[in-house]
Symmetry: C2
C-alpha cells in the first residue's frame, strides 16, 4: 500500500494507521499524541492572535519549498506581522485518493521541520480523503494562535513614515511559475518561502515601528494599495530602490509579469517613522532573511493612492489587479 486510499479518511482503522505511522512519527507534541477531539492548550493572559489559511499551491513541490513548508510559513508570517509570537498550529489535510504516501511523508517532514524552527506546536488536526479527480493531490489548511506582544495599527501610520521591505521581491511567484514547466527556462530562482518570526520579533520593540504586512498573493503593490486606502494617505515607492533579483526581473520581463505584483512568502513590508528606520534596518541586516532590507518609499499626505517613481524619472499610479497574474500561488 503506497498510496492514499479512501479509507484513510474514514476515521476508522486506516485513518489511525496513517496518523500513527506517519503524522505522529514526525509531529511530536503531546497534545497531538493524546488524539483528543480538541487539544488543550495554555494561553498567556492578554491579547491573542488567531489566523487561518488554506493552501492550494500548484505544483506541490517547487524550488525552495513545498506545500507543507508553505502551510507553516504562511500562517507563522500572518501571526508575526500582527505583532504576535506564534505558538500553536492546527493542521488539516484534504488528500486525493491515489496520492503517493512517499510524497505525503515528504510533506509531513517539511511541516515538522518548519514548525520546529519557530518552536511552534502542532496540537490538533484532521484528515479527509476525496475520490480521484476531486482535488488536486493535496490541500492543506492551518490555523495559528499566537500571543500578541506588540499591537500594530494602520492608524499610527502617518505622513513622513518610510516603507521598508525586508528583501528581494517576486522570488516566490517566479519560482512557482517556472516550476509549472510551462516555460522552457532554466534558472536558479528559488521561492523565498520562510518563517519570518525570528526576523521580525526583534523589531517589535523598536519605537516608531508602526505596521507590518507580508506581501503574499497580489504582491507588494497590493499590500501598499490596501494600506493607502485604509489610511487615506499616499505612498510613493521608488523603482530603483526596490530590490529585485536580476534573474527574477529578467524572467518577469520575458513573461510579462511585474515583480511588484508577484507573490512573496518570506518577506515583510514594514512602515516605520523616519527616525526609527535606521535602527530597524540595522536589526534586520543582522538576520540572514533581512540581509537586503531597504527603504523603498515613503508615506505622504500630499496625495492619495500608490505611486511608483520610475527609473526613467516619471511617476505613475499603481492599482490593485482584478485578478492574479498567477493563480494558486499559495
Amino acid at each position: 500500500m503506497n498510496n492514499i486510499e479512501i479509507g484513510h479518511g474514514s476515521g476508522g482503522k486506516l485513518t489511525r494507521d496513517l496518523i500513527s505511522s506517519l503524522f505522529l512519527k514526525y509531529l511530536s507534541s503531546s497534545e497531538l499524541h493524546s488524539m483528543e477531539d480538541a487539544a488543550t492548550i495554555n494561553i498567556h493572559s492578554g491579547k491573542t492572535a488567531f489566523t487561518t489559511d488554506s493552501y492550494v499551491i500548484r505544483p506541490l513541490f517547487f524550488p525552495g519549498g513545498d506545500i507543507g513548508k508553505l502551510s507553516v510559513c504562511g500562517t507563522v508570517n500572518d501571526l508575526a506581522v500582527s505583532g504576535a509570537i506564534p505558538e500553536y498550529l492546527s493542521l488539516s489535510f484534504i488528500i486525493e485518493e491515489g496520492f503517493s504516501l512517499n510524497h505525503m511523508e515528504e510533506i509531513v517532514k517539511s511541516i515538522a521541520e518548519e514548525a520546529d524552527r519557530s518552536a511552534l506546536k502542532i496540537v490538533t488536526g484532521d484528515t479527509k480523503v476525496v475520490e480521484r479527480g476531486k482535488c488536486d493531490g493535496i490541500y492543506i489548511n492551518t490555523a495559528g494562535i499566537g500571543t500578541i506582544v506588540r499591537t500594530f495599527t494602520v492608524n499610527d501610520v502617518s505622513s513622513g513614515d518610510v516603507v521598508i521591505v525586508t528583501g528581494t521581491i517576486g522570488d516566490h511567484g517566479t519560482a512557482v511559475a517556472l516550476a509549472r514547466n510551462e516555460f522552457d527556462i532554466e534558472t536558479k530562482v528559488e521561492s523565498d518561502c520562510a518563517s519570518l518570526d525570528s526576523l521580525l520579533t526583534p523589531v517589535f520593540d523598536i519605537n516608531g515601528v508602526k505596521w507590518m504586512r507580508d506581501p503574499t498573493r497580489g504582491g507588494a503593490a497590493t499590500v501598499l494599495v490596501e494600506l493607502s486606502e485604509e489610511t487615506n494617505l499616499g505612498i510613493r515607492i521608488v523603482e530603483e530602490n526596490i530590490p529585485v533579483r536580476e534573474d527574477v526581473q529578467f524572467i518577469a520581463d520575458m513573461l510579462g509579469y511585474d515583480p511588484l505584483y508577484l507573490a512573496n512568502e518570506g518577506k515583510a513590508i514594514i512602515i516605520a517613522s523616519e527616525e526609527a528606520a535606521g535602527s530597524v534596518l540595522e536589526k534586520l541586516h543582522t538576520h540572514p532573511l533581512g540581509e537586503y532590507a531597504v527603504i523603498i518609499g515613503e508615506i505622504s499626505s500630499d496625495f492619495q493612492g500608490l505611486r511608483l517613481k520610475t527609473k526613467i524619472g516619471g511617476e505613475r499610479p499603481l492599482d490593485m489587479l482584478e485578478e492574479d497574474q498567477l493563480p494558486r500561488i499559495c
Copy 2:
C-alpha cells in the same frame, strides 16, 4: 457574474468584492470586519481548547443541513465534548471555479445562523479558488477555540459506569446516503446536524460525568471501540436500548448499513457513574436535542473491547471498520 471566478481567490479586487458583498454581509464580528491578517481575540486565562476539521461532504445540501451548517456544528461539537464553551471560529473556503454564487450565499447564511446560535464569533478567514475539476464545488475548514470549563479524561472512566447516548443514531449517515440519489427511496429522514453546546454545557457541572465524545465518522461503535482500547476496559451495549428511528433502521437494513457505524452530527456519547446517570438524563431530557437520551450500556472490567448484547439474546464483539460505510459523510 453569478459564479465564482478564479480571480475571487486572487487576494485582489475580486476577493475583496466577494468578502464585502457576501461574507461581511452575514458575518458580523468586528474582528472579521477589520480584515487584518490575524484577528485579535481575548481569551480567558486558564485552559483553552483548540480544534480543526475540514468538511468535504457530498452532496453540499442535504435534508437537515448543508456543508455550511455542518462546518460550524462539527467544530462546536468537538469543543463541547471537550468540556469547553465555544468562542471563536476561523473559516476557510476552497471553492471550485464556476461554483454558483447563490449556493455560496446560502452556505454563508447557514454558517452565520449556526454560529449565532452558539454566540460564536467568526473572526478570521481565507478564500482560495481552484480551477474547474480541481475540487468538488466547495470544501470548508473551520478551526475553533473555546474556554475549557470542565476537564474530561478517559482515565476517570471505570467499571460500573454507564454509556448514555443523547438521541437516535444513524440519522446523518442515512439522510446523506439518500441525498446522493443513488437509491430510489422516499423518506422523511433528516440529518441530526446540530450544535450540542447548549445541550451539553449544563451537564458539565454534574458530578460523576466522566467523558464525552460526538460519534461522527465511524459512528457510535467506532467511538466506543476507541474508548475501550484507551481504557483497557470492556463496554457492553444492549441492542434493544439503542435508539434508532424506525425509518433509519429500515433503510439501513435495506442498504446493508449498520446504524452503529453510521455518522451522527448532533449526538453525544456520555460516560457517567451509575449514580450520576439519573441527573444527567433528567438534564438532557429538558432540551429538545436530548429528548431521547438513554442509557445504552455499561463499562466493565470483566472483559475487553466492545460487545453488543443482541435482541435475540446473544453477545457479539464489535470492532472498528477498516473503511467507512459511506465516504465523505462530513
